[in-house]
Subunit: 109 residues, 2 copies
DNA sequence: GGCTTACTTAACTGTCCAGTTACGCACGTT
DNA sequence: AACGTGCGTAACTGGACAGTTAAGTAAGCC
């Protein structure tokens, strides 16, 4: 779940979204953000360390590609909670207000 | 997507997991962690501000309950990426190595 | 070899955040 | 009214982190 920390930053989420549309070079990516290139470089490093991104050297370019596996982990983490909103979405408020117990679910930390 | 930042902390994820099994008082929660009660109080505040948790005063107790809506938002954010790992999970490495384009997806930031 | 291009790393700064102890407040009990 | 209990908030500290500019490394070109 290290991916969660990586995805907590909006810039990094945007990078992920961009890379979902296809791989890109580092400078190419940096050009689409209002921050400096080193800043993007560091973001890419965080994403890399979280396993969300893979680099490939192509000449002097560094081409970044999305690796969806941590996202799938996140999906798996989220899965057990899914039943909580799957049904009766609009009945939630009243249910919470009434304080009914759910009695399910364990960690997954 | 403010929930992502809230869930980036392991302690808070654990609190969420505990509350998924049923609501609990603040002190009750704090007792299950190695940190001080004020620390948990602050975590609960972050979760509250992220909408992940609801409080209800019951006498002098503060009973916390999970609100799954931000989790469902997170699920929705994750949804467009799902097709990336849905099929050919083992073919991913080679696909990334080959550098094939995906050509889909926008932000969601 | 010497220069440009494409990125990363280093060093520094400001801000945010989790943890602590000390204090404050409201409810309940006697 | 006085006191204990259950929490929250305040004030402070240490560490992590995003941003900057400046320096370093590696590939391509002349």
């Amino acid at each position: 779940m290290e991916a969660l920390a990586a995805l907590a930053d909006p810039t990094r989420r945007q990078i992920v979204a961009l890379l979902a549309a296809g791989e890109q070079g580092a400078g190419e990516l940096a050009g689409q953000f209002p921050v400096s290139r080193p800043a993007i470089s560091r973001h890419l490093r965080v994403l890399r360390e979280a396993g969300l991104v893979q680099v490939r050297a192509e000449g002097q370019r560094r081409v970044y590609a999305l690796d969806p596996r941590p996202l799938s982990e996140l999906d798996a983490w989220l899965a057990p909670y899914r039943r909580l909103w799957a049904q009766r979405l609009d009945a939630l408020d009243t249910e919470i207000a009434r304080g009914r117990r759910a009695r399910t679910q364990e960690d997954g930390r």
